[in-house]
Symmetry: D2
Subunit: 323 residues, 4 copies
């Protein structure tokens, strides 16, 4: 195993540059060569790939996103692209791939495993929806981003009778919302795993929280929660007379994933990077580096690809106990 | 003129605490007594008012919002409330009022002038829509808040082909959007003073900007721009095939006004506070403290109440030259 | 076990308010009463203590420091104070103590254990020098504070030939410096566990790093490293001709511990608070809540009081591999 | 006037990239060509210079420092370098120079004026020590940096009896310290313009401020104040018994000038850039762009080079009134 290519697929988030740093630096000490692929799988199609030296990763650890660029996997794996990707791999004499990305991106990398190219995955997504790891790369930075916005929103602390609804990412997994709700001291947290049939129940909870004398009530909502922030907000506006709640709705978009990575994500990225190089040098393939109880494991793709991440009950408990 | 009451009306923003600090501290050196009114005009109705000493304003200059609380003026001036407010004024032996707030809040204070109570206003609103002052208290902090969010959004700089649409406050006045657009290096700025008949023109501008090779194109929009962010965004999604633009829309809500004030707003608040005390001690009334070319003026309410602020042509020029 | 008093001793850092929040909220669900002691052990001497309700901890989770105040333990335990403290405990009918603090503060609490008052400790110090827990409360926030300053220092990236020396806290333990060095991508890290006999070796390392073409070289130093930042800095200034290094020295003081806590410290504080209440309700005493591999343990005081924390070899390895 | 070279001399600070942006963009609309010189005057000696297009300045406005690099003027103007610089100017057919920098850097540019090369200066230094302009580029960002650090230091608000001494830049001019002192609500401000003979007077002021019941007392000091922070700090430590003051000293170093520029500095940089291009296109030379009462003037070098900036009495008044 001499030449390894590394790519980041999916939306970019914090900590990826740290992973690339440690991959490059540890690989060079193991006499491997690392190739950086630009724009995710797209770079394999276009042969946009180049050798990375220790100098190339200098000063990148504090930068947001991924300095190689990322790209969505969708559309990359149409039949005519597969030979192009394989040609890039052969032309550059690549013996293995490290893929940094979310669930969909890792699923796609199985294709290379099937074609005999060893692949090691690094779970990186603020959706935090991957089974087999306690946390994904980028989540700590995203939660801290959210916390800072909510602190700012709440800092106008002497404004009265406000109900803040904050929507964060989470299509199928409420982890980001739940962590943020706990860290922000939210009164209510709405996650995809627990859809709601009757919004009036939530409205009553909000009115109750407001009546305890709090000047501000905070509701944290995952983007994938049903029936959705708009339905909730519409209901509250419609029933304002009854509930006496003045609602402010904030949809946190790209700001969640931007900015300088936290130290946690930098260390996690570095450690996952090392583990990935180690795994690939030991001829592993089709596995993802997972963190469980502070130890790094090699989780077979099959194990996490097939399963949805169950809701983190410990976190949900922590939320209910502390709010 | 011995006892002065101070209140903050409208939504809270940065710099108000600095104004209150200097009002209290300079008044005490002039042997005046300052009363703080809670929750805006509402506090006059409810007799929620108390004496402020030098110690009460210690450590407040760095805090967001207004430590007395603010409140909307709407609903306060129904006929049955007027005698209540006057009673509070008499009971506490108040000889004059300093009102910190936006246009609507200052307009309402004219009522007290008419009833013989001297009033001095301090223009404080991130809408920046008041004639007679170059800038309102809170605008600098709001622009810096916006700049930080956009920097964060843009920090993922290696993501491709993204068009960011960011909506900021500005019902009738584009000042905040314009200042933010210049500071952020936006490609397009859409303000209420220049409504748009034909969205396809904007779409073409965006596509052009994108085709010059920029990986990210930024559009800054005032909330009061017609036909609105939603219409623009819908159009772009619908015509994505033609324009090849992937659109991300962010509506910046309360985060614009939160957080610790900038040093500019702290100094502006302090200076406006002093000028207000000086004006009221010199028996002025019905006037607002305005800043023009670095000098403080006393602008009669009549002058700015009747007129909409014209668009700042120098700023618009600066935007067009620098983008 | 009905009435529990809580106090924070030592210098304040981030996450303490979160711990108090969860102690108060979980205790109330267990029908316990929580008393907050002001200014650390000093409040026990002065009987400065009051009951905390769920409302008292609302909105505190995002605040820096400790809202009860903290105080140094030194001088509190002179013989004449012990009866005063015991009187406060009896007068308020306190059945147990939760002490949040660093090593010295926890050592002092043994006094109460000896006198028959159950005590549970929460390890909270940015020194991170306590055996028996993987990390102390406040460390994550401190590292992120340091990272932000270093990012700012380094952001002027086109200035040439600068060697930055940054001193962070760490009297006997290099954990904070090491974590920061890794997260910042420092070239050199100097910790108390590894004193230096010959500064010329470090100077040569710095000159070597500088000659690889880096425009900036970063050295992270613990305050307890011998012979100290001043000696290093003096040496480098003296030998500037040979090494061609322009040195900038920054001593990070109180800024390390200030600011809003990170989400990690908020969750850690909440969880440690719960575990403390649980432990004390189960009649444990003389134990500290420790985190090991993501599990919470009850570590007897005797175990960590007697021993210095050994240097974290995994972290030192991570530093050497990634730099 | 066709080809203009631009260089940034001295230490880098915020807003320079905005100035370069507007110089490049407005020059291109006037059919001029702009050349960027790397590393200040050093780049003229080394012929390190290249043409800048509109694309080169895209996305730079939010970056710290100067993307061309800066360099100290010292040592550049030895006799053997002058012909090298002139050769670079001739070889690249440069018709004029725009120099961005502090007082020393602008003084050196007079050399080119004397040799017949038109020069326009932009005053950029956080020392803020240049006569002829109300404020220099970079000052607003530096003050906001300082404010943020002090806010963080002060955020641990329930720690008792602390006297914070914060040293900021200012060799001969106290502007930065004074602005920061006002914005932070400092109790004492020590500037180079007012050296102190008897430190015991300051110690008494501090003790008095502390005895009014404040938990924290803040002293802001310019680096050029005599006898200096160390002398003050030593005195206070020595006399701790009498004054009962626990002192914490912070020397803010490079962090003052780092980080993303404020919107004020971005707009100021853009506007100064335009004015510089306009001035040079109108065949002005040996002049600096100054801002006075919100208007831009062309100030002859002779006017400000010879004179020290007098202390800003309005600011000193504001400090005394508001503290």
């Amino acid at each position: 195993m001499k030449n390894i290519a590394i790519l980041s697929s999916g939306t970019d988030n914090s900590g990826i540059n740290a992973a690339i740093r440690s991959i490059v630096r540890s690989a060079s000490s193991m006499k491997m060569k690392i190739y950086g692929v630009n724009w995710g799988y797209r770079g394999l199609i276009d042969n946009s790939i180049h050798c990375l030296t220790s100098r190339d990763v200098s000063g990148k650890i504090g930068k947001a996103g991924c300095f190689l660029g990322t790209g969505r996997p969708e559309g990359c794996f149409v039949p005519e692209n597969i030979p192009k990707m394989m040609e890039t791999i052969k032309k550059n004499n690549i013996h293995g791939l490290i893929v940094i990305g979310g669930r969909t991106s890792l699923i796609h990398s199985q294709k290379f495993v099937d074609m005999g190219i060893p692949v090691i995955g690094i779970p990186s997504t603020i959706q935090d929806d991957i089974v087999g790891t306690d946390i994904c790369l980028g989540v700590d930075s995203a939660v801290n981003n959210i916390v800072k916005y909510v602190d700012k929103i709440r800092s106008c602390e002497f404004s009265r009778d406000r109900t803040f609804i904050v929507q964060v990412e989470g299509k199928t997994c409420g982890s980001l919302a739940l962590r943020s709700a706990i860290a922000c001291g939210a009164e209510i947290c709405l996650v995809p795993e627990q859809p709601c049939d009757d919004i009036s129940v939530i409205a009553r909870d909000l009115a109750d929280a407001s009546m305890t004398g709090k000047t501000q009530v905070l509701t944290m909502v995952s983007s994938g929660w049903k029936p959705g922030v708009k339905a909730l907000s519409d209901y509250l506006v419609e029933h304002m007379e009854e509930t006496d709640l003045l609602v402010r709705e904030t949809v946190l978009g790209y700001v969640q994933r931007g900015g300088s990575p936290t130290s946690y994500d930098r260390l996690l990225g570095l450690r996952m990077g090392f583990e990935a190089v180690k795994a690939i040098s030991e001829k592993e393939s089709g596995k993802m580096i997972g963190l469980r109880n502070n130890e790094f494991l090699r989780v077979p793709f099959s194990e996490f690809l097939a399963n949805d991440k169950p809701m983190d009950k410990a976190l949900m408990n922590l939320f209910h106990l502390s709010r």
